[in-house]
């Protein structure tokens, strides 16, 4: 492979990973904007999506499409249960308690997945053929196209949902001002529940579309979760274009860094970017600085 085709290869795999990070980032933003919570269990929804699909495929012998739909529904249910059992009953909502509870939920879900499915890595079959396509000397798996296509679709649906549907608008109203929203008759509790459901659904989809390329196991949630968080931090905690750009940027830097600098420090690159952003511009790369209000 010559240099330019190698570059194309890195860019391609960087972008497809980046798309996944952006989707995971959306999940963070949706819950954070509705509740102020940073859901540490976000990565576990991603893991659950992939693992549920594999589990359903091997035990129920359903066709792939049906298994995927069922897996998304199951993951969403986990998200709903999580909100009902661990978030809603909380009376003392100190931020520290919320951090600890979502961390607790995260390792609980991970541990349960390990007990049920074991520690092995599993591969999900590709959505369509496994024959690579060749572009400028680089190989593209058809799964890459699925990833780009589905991510684009989710971004569009997400945008339409929050801009035009009544529910989406109500959720946004809660994000701006929960008290004012409740005064105009919006049931804030339902909106919070919905944010967990939507976020779990998007997270699980991300986990499903990436699983055929990278394999999956009970413990993929933590790395993917933090990288998604990194994307959404770059994007300034929005479920919009900023986070998409943030995810793609992270994916690219990671893949180029792994290719040209050192593969073994691939993960460290993402975390160093995360720390730098948090230290220097915690409000994101694309937002204007606002005067801090106490």
């Amino acid at each position: 492979m010559d240099n330019s085709s190698q570059l194309v290869q890195y860019v391609l795999s960087g972008l497809s990973n980046g798309a996944i990070y952006a989707l995971i980032g959306f999940g963070f933003a949706i819950i954070h904007n509705a509740t102020g919570i940073l859901n540490f269990a976000q990565g576990e929804f991603v893991m659950l999506g992939g693992m549920f699909t594999i589990f359903i495929l091997s035990f129920l012998n359903l066709p792939l499409a049906a298994a995927i739909v069922l897996a998304i529904i199951l993951s969403t249910l986990v998200g709903i249960l999580f909100e009902r059992l661990a978030i809603r009953p909380l009376k003392n909502i100190k931020p520290l308690s919320l951090v600890i509870i979502t961390i607790g939920a995260s390792i609980f879900i991970r541990g349960a997945a390990m007990l049920i499915w074991g520690k092995d890595t599993h591969a999900l079959p590709a959505f369509s053929s496994n024959n690579p396509l060749y572009v400028y000397g680089a190989t593209i798996m058809p799964q890459h196209l699925w990833i780009f296509g589905i991510t684009l679709l989710i971004i569009i649906v997400n945008k339409l949902f929050f801009s035009y549907s009544i529910l989406g608008k109500a959720m946004r109203a809660c994000a701006y001002n929960a008290h004012a929203a409740s005064l105009v008759g919006i049931d804030v509790k339902i909106m919070v529940l919905l944010s967990f459901a939507v976020s779990a659904a998007i997270g699980s989809m991300a986990g499903i579309i990436i699983a055929p390329l990278t394999m999956t196991s009970y413990d993929v949630g933590i790395m993917l979760g933090i990288k998604g968080f990194c994307a959404v931090i770059i994007g300034g905690m929005s479920s919009g274009l900023g986070t998409v750009l943030g995810g793609l940027l992270l994916g690219l830097l990671e893949s180029l860094g792994a290719g040209y600098i050192s593969a073994s420090y691939k993960d460290a690159i993402a975390f160093i970017i995360l720390l730098l952003i948090l230290f220097i511009r915690p409000e994101g790369l694309f937002k204007q600085k606002e005067t801090q209000r106490v």
Partner: protein, 329 residues
């Protein structure tokens, strides 16, 4: 009023003396017992839990990367004594100083962050360090670990058996516990708790929250690294798996179970989480599920931990006794 406070202080000294006495006498009843080995680990974990509690329980600043300071202490000490002719005691001090310096440097930017963001940043820091432990193979031996770390020695005493290690670890741990108890009842301890309750109000009262948070973070890293160095020299073998994210969460679970801000709670939490996997085989497979469940349930239903629960129970019983005594008169 002042008299009351003096009484309280006297009672505290008494409780600590009693605790220390029990700890120091325990080995007499356990000569040559395997359990002594478990108690050495409880000592190291107590030291770590106290260190994290200074940061989280006192100052209210979370860290999900404390295993990194533990690991840094272990590796600096291990590398210095296996690759260079450095005395283990000196290496312990250098290791602690390294961790403290690192904590001081990253402390300023990292502790500007609050709540969830601080948690994520410390988590990221922990994972970066873990990656370095794994990947700098030439120094750390990578995933296969670093072996042949020499034991500490003091004159003719070599700390290479459970009994000696027990006293080595526990004397240091008891010392740190005493210092931490002193700290909580002092000007600095009050300022830290004030930051925990309301950082804005603390600053308006003249508490320099930024510097104080960095100071306690540095102290916490220093103590964690001492624990790491002790671990390296008593185990003589270390590998990255002991210093990963899971262990950071385990430390967090210890102090949540024991009770945030309580030094004896740190001991209780460390003791429980160290003993459970030793005696309940099932626990080894279920450990992270149980940690997760404990974190959720205790935060929801028992926010002051087991120590808080015990205190409340004790007060109820004491109250009943007083009440019935008063009735009988």
């Amino acid at each position: 009023m002042l008299c009351k406070i003096m009484m309280k202080e006297k009672r505290q000294i008494l409780i600590f003396a009693l605790f220390a006495l029990i700890i120091l006498l325990v080995p007499l009843f356990l000569k040559g017992n395997y359990f002594l080995n478990v108690l050495v680990f409880i000592g190291i974990n107590t030291l770590l839990a106290v260190a994290l509690n200074l940061l989280l329980g006192y100052a209210g600043q979370i860290s999900l990367g404390h295993a990194a300071f533990f690991g840094l202490g272990a590796y600096v000490s291990g590398i210095l004594t296996t690759r260079f002719p450095v005395d283990p005691w000196l290496s312990l001090l250098i290791a602690a100083a390294c961790a403290a310096t690192l904590a001081f440097v990253i402390g300023f930017p990292i502790l500007k962050l609050k709540g969830h963001y601080l948690a994520m940043a410390t988590l990221g820091f922990g994972i970066i360090m873990y990656i370095f432990f794994n990947e700098t193979v030439d120094w750390t031996g990578g995933p296969s670990g670093l072996s042949g770390i020499p034991n500490l020695r003091l004159g003719p005493v070599i700390f290479d058996n459970d009994l000696n290690n027990y006293y080595l670890v526990w004397i240091i741990t008891l010392g740190v516990m005493l210092l931490s108890i002193n700290l909580s009842q002092s000007r600095i301890g009050r300022a830290l708790r004030a930051i925990n309750d309301s950082e804005v109000a603390a600053r308006v009262m003249g508490v320099n929250a930024r510097i104080l948070k960095v100071q306690i973070f540095t102290v916490s890293a220093f103590v964690s690294a001492i624990a790491g160095s002790l671990y390296a020299h008593t185990m003589t073998f270390i590998s990255p798996t002991s210093f990963g994210f899971n262990f950071s969460v385990e430390l967090l679970t210890m102090i949540i179970i024991g009770g945030l801000g309580s030094i004896y709670g740190s001991f209780l939490g460390a003791a429980i989480l160290t003993m459970l996997p030793e005696f309940l085989r099932v626990f080894r497979d279920f450990d992270i599920v149980i940690y997760g469940l404990m974190l959720i349930l205790i935060t929801m239903f028992m926010p002051s931990g087991l120590i808080g629960g015990l205190e409340a129970l004790f007060k109820i019983i004491a109250g009943k006794i007083k009440w019935s005594a008063a009735r009988n008169v």
